[in-house]
């Protein structure tokens, strides 16, 4: 396999207006923040984001007016930093559609895409208003094998998945330390995937048993030390609380 190493500008150039983008990590941990900043710099519009639990990344895209819809179980900063201000206001003004999911149904929608099927049944959501208010993504259907009603979750196939990892080799094999989040699933579900990494090492130098994402699923590799900041990156750095507070306090872009 050849080298897939490229610049951040060229890799993120694969993201076009209107695409569905899956973002790795969770809330303020191992988010692909540098790639998201590059998306904003390139002026993308009308993106649709999918993620179990978004934080800085989704809020930054909302601030820049780069997104029109978000499929997520949660978008916020947890207790210490409060609500995701820009995302919240964009939804309240009707500029961004909150396509509310529960985290497990985001996983189910990505699994369906990864398995190449149009939907998958899921055991959950019973008794939630989401079942009747979100028919675009959830339907109660009869089990064809006669075991009663099941919740069908529609597949969501990302055009691009972007994940930030600790180590990748030049071919795109990725060694993730600590929590995997939904990164592996996102990369397999997406048409194209971009990996940004704290360290890029020579092909063949990673222990194959340490590889969480195999290169066969990866399109582009970008060397991006600090690429999750202000989110944490396990083994490298923690949350940059000041930078998170600064975004929460900043103005949302106007005139979109």
């Amino acid at each position: 396999m050849g080298s897939k190493v490229t610049s951040m500008e060229r890799a993120v150039g694969a993201v076009a207006d209107g695409m569905i983008v899956a973002l790795g990590g969770n809330v303020l941990h191992r988010s692909p923040s540098a790639a998201v900043r590059e998306i904003v710099r390139q002026g993308r519009r009308d993106l649709k984001v999918i993620k179990t639990a978004g934080g800085y990344d989704v809020d930054l895209l909302a601030q820049a007016g780069a997104i029109c819809a978000v499929w997520a179980g949660y978008v916020g900063y947890e207790n210490e930093f409060g609500l995701a201000t820009h995302y919240r206001r964009a939804v309240e003004r009707g500029e961004v559609e909150a396509r509310e999911h529960t985290c497990y149904s985001v996983i189910t929608a990505l699994r369906a895409a990864s398995y190449g099927v149009p939907y998958l049944p899921m055991n959950g959501l019973w008794g939630s208003d989401l079942l009747e208010r979100r028919p675009e993504d959830f339907r109660v259907v009869d089990d064809p094998f006669g075991q009663g009603p099941v919740v069908a979750v529609r597949a969501i196939r990302p055009d691009v998945a972007i994940v930030h990892v600790q180590k990748a080799d030049t071919e795109g094999n990725c060694a993730i330390t600590g929590t995997l989040f939904e990164d592996v699933l996102m990369v397999s579900a997406a048409r194209l995937s971009i990996v940004t990494a704290e360290e890029v090492v020579l092909a063949g130098s990673l222990d194959p048993e340490s590889v969480s994402i195999p290169a066969v699923l990866v399109s582009h590799v970008v060397h991006a030390p600090g690429g999750a900041r202000p989110a944490s990156c396990h083994g490298y750095y923690g949350i940059d609380a000041e930078a998170v507070r600064a975004l929460a306090a900043a103005q949302t872009a106007v005139g979109r």
């Binding site: 909150a98 959950g124 959501l125 208010r133």
Partner: protein, 242 residues
């Protein structure tokens, strides 16, 4: 005078809900359940199985983070499980206890974490219910907590049902509710509040007089200060030392 705070009371009460050997889960934004699980493990429930979003199973963190998805929760972990596997386990009916927060809880034990006002055009768009809508119907038991007790939180009917299901208890800084025949009833109010205050601050009808919650014991408080010396349990009350 009491020698404990409402945060101490809540951490102790959440810990008392955990039975030895339980598979117990907390999600993101859950400092009080995180502290409660570690407290229960160090006291009456040494054999609990501690699961959280990081996928670090049975960690022994030496420093408690304020984000409950933080890599600090990896210290001492015995194995790695994915969040997808945790949800699958819950969907199969094999999770004993889950903890979820709520912006609103109603008399029927339904929770709202989605929006204040109409869901289609919200007055306040809330972060969302995370894993709750999937987990509440399928976990064997769910305990809901909220670090405030007022009429905006404890309501007759939630603005939006983000999740409902096997909710068994609601724990607030003032009281413990239990769900009986589908409805929340007050099980006990805490020693430092009056029946009148609890009635006045609850948005659905209650019938005093109430039983009084057992105050934290000296042993519980000592163990609590040992597992959470930095006071992370007070984060949800807007402070680190409350």
């Amino acid at each position: 005078m009491t020698d404990y705070t409402p945060a101490d009371m809540m951490a102790v009460l959440l810990a008392r809900e955990i039975r030895d050997g339980d598979r117990v889960f907390h999600g993101l934004a859950s400092p009080l359940p995180m502290v409660a699980i570690l407290l229960a493990r160090s006291t009456h429930a040494p054999n609990l199985v501690y699961l959280n979003i990081t996928g670090a199973v049975d960690p022994t963190p030496s420093r408690l983070p304020t984000s409950t998805v933080d890599p600090a929760l990896w210290e001492g972990a015995r194995s790695r499980i994915t969040l997808a596997d945790i949800f699958d386990l819950n969907a199969r009916g094999e999770m004993d206890l889950v903890f979820f927060g709520a912006a609103q809880v109603d008399r029927r034990g339904r929770i709202n974490l989605s929006a204040i006002g109409p869901w289609e055009a919200p007055k306040v768009r809330l972060p969302g219910g995370a894993g709750s809508a999937a987990m509440l119907p399928r976990a064997r038991r769910a305990v809901v907590w909220r670090a405030r007790h007022d009429r905006r939180t404890l309501v007759e009917s939630v603005d939006f049902v983000t999740a409902s299901g096997n909710l068994d208890r609601v724990i607030t800084p003032y009281a413990v509710f239990e769900r009986r025949d589908g409805l929340l009833t007050l099980r006990s109010r805490h020693p430092y509040v009056s029946d009148e205050t609890v009635v006045a601050e609850t948005g659905f009808a209650l019938t005093p007089p109430f039983a009084v919650t057992a105050a934290p014991t000296a042993e519980e408080l000592e163990a609590l200060r040992r597992v959470d010396p930095g006071g992370v349990r007070a984060v949800e009350f807007g402070s680190r030392n409350g």
